[in-house]
């Protein structure tokens, strides 16, 4: 048996890095995901990148949702590098909020899986996170064997 055969709810971290403190959006998304049966850790804003990586490591997170209403997404690439350095490159990262069109390419290049604009539909967010969680698990190359 491999890890991919294990069926359990997606483990999702909903967080905010950077300086902006508006967290209404991330609260709503966290509640959507919880109500869709996921196991969700929601943090207040202003998280340090290191703290996010350590949390994702200890909690065996599948998907990180970053909320950005101002310029927080500009440091998303730093998070991607930090995740890779910690051996957590299987974790999928999405960004939700206000991201100017000309910055989408930069985020995609950095490895962000998906960007959700304001007004994104609940069903779309939930489905996307569920799919990404499954991808995160199947793309994992460490500890593939599910035995202890």
């Amino acid at each position: 048996m491999t890890n991919n055969n294990l069926k359990y709810p997606p483990r999702v971290l909903v967080t905010k890095i950077g300086l902006d403190g508006h967290d209404r959006g991330s609260r709503i998304v966290a509640a959507y995901l919880r109500d869709a049966g996921m196991e969700v850790i929601y943090t207040p804003p202003w998280q340090e990148i290191n703290a996010v990586v350590n949390l994702a490591l200890q909690e065996d997170i599948d998907v990180i949702g970053l909320s950005s209403l101002a310029t927080d997404h500009l440091i998303a690439p730093d998070l991607m590098i930090a995740l890779r350095d910690a051996g957590l490159d299987h974790i999928k990262v999405i960004v939700g909020g206000i991201v100017p069109a000309n910055e989408h390419g930069m985020l995609e290049d950095a490895g962000i899986s998906k960007i959700f604009e304001p007004g994104a539909l609940r069903e779309d967010i939930v489905e996307s996170v569920a799919t990404l969680a499954a991808n995160a698990r199947s793309s994992r190359r460490d500890f593939e064997e599910a035995s202890l």
Partner: protein, 240 residues
């Protein structure tokens, strides 16, 4: 996996906990491993300050040079099965300390205040030999945490001044399982009165080798924690 676990690889530990949580059986190696980590269970009604108390407890253990792993169990929604795992946010000052490992678990509708495979998860943590103390935070359900009694070496029941709601819990036996009672939020009015009442109630019990102490704490100020840790140590010695 086994070697990585033994070498203290946190990614392996985290992964192994997920596997154990999701019904993967343990090999004999893990099952038979002997390790003396002290397993401390913290239980009490919702909002009494369990997580905050654990945060203060971690502060003190780290000051004493001890490593600590924390398992926090949160309730799941009976309808969707989903869960908010929020306890660790009260412990975020330890986010970057390699001597602290915190893992949140959903109860997944398991009754009893913990999650189904908690014993195997503890065995996985013990197998690493890396954690001096293992702290369990139960779901704050108030009435159904008796399961922790089977699993923890030392059970701490947290109350707050007035503890009106907890009187209900007492009937359900939450006080019966306590090795240590602690009145948290002692900065609030009535703490001394509550402590006195509790002590009087405990005196009605038959004498035993361990008289359940009633302590007081203000977790938000790190107050009362040294005494709590000393008492946990004393309890450990007394049960040996």
């Amino acid at each position: 996996m086994i070697n990585a676990l033994r070498n203290g690889d946190i990614r392996a530990l985290s992964r192994a906990i997920t596997l154990a949580e999701n019904d993967v059986p343990l090999s004999d190696q893990l099952v038979n491993h002997k390790n003396g980590s002290n397993v401390v269970g913290i239980t009490g009604a919702p909002g009494v300050g369990k997580s905050t108390l654990i945060n203060a407890y971690i502060n003190q253990l780290r000051a004493d040079g001890k490593t600590v792993a924390v398992l926090c169990v949160d309730p799941s929604s009976p309808t969707s099965g989903g869960a908010f795992l929020g306890d660790r946010l009260r412990m975020s000052e330890h986010a970057n300390d390699p001597g602290v490992f915190i893992r949140s678990l959903s109860a997944r509708n398991h009754l009893g205040g913990l999650c189904k495979n908690i014993e195997n998860i503890i065995k996985v943590i013990k197998f690493t030999n890396a954690w001096d103390t293992i702290i369990l935070e139960t779901v704050g359900a108030g009435q159904s945490e008796v399961e922790v009694a089977k699993i923890a070496n030392c059970k701490i029941v947290v109350l707050v001044p007035g503890y009106g709601d907890e009187m209900q819990a007492m009937k359900a036996g939450i006080l019966e399982i306590a090795d240590i009672l602690i009145i948290n939020k002692s900065d609030m009015p009535g703490a001394h009165h509550s402590a006195k009442e509790l002590k009087a109630m405990l005196r009605l019990r038959p004498k035993s080798d361990w008289d359940v102490p009633v302590l007081m704490s203000t977790a938000t100020e790190n107050e009362g924690i040294c005494e709590l840790i000393e008492t946990v140590e004393r309890f450990k010695v007394s049960t040996h």
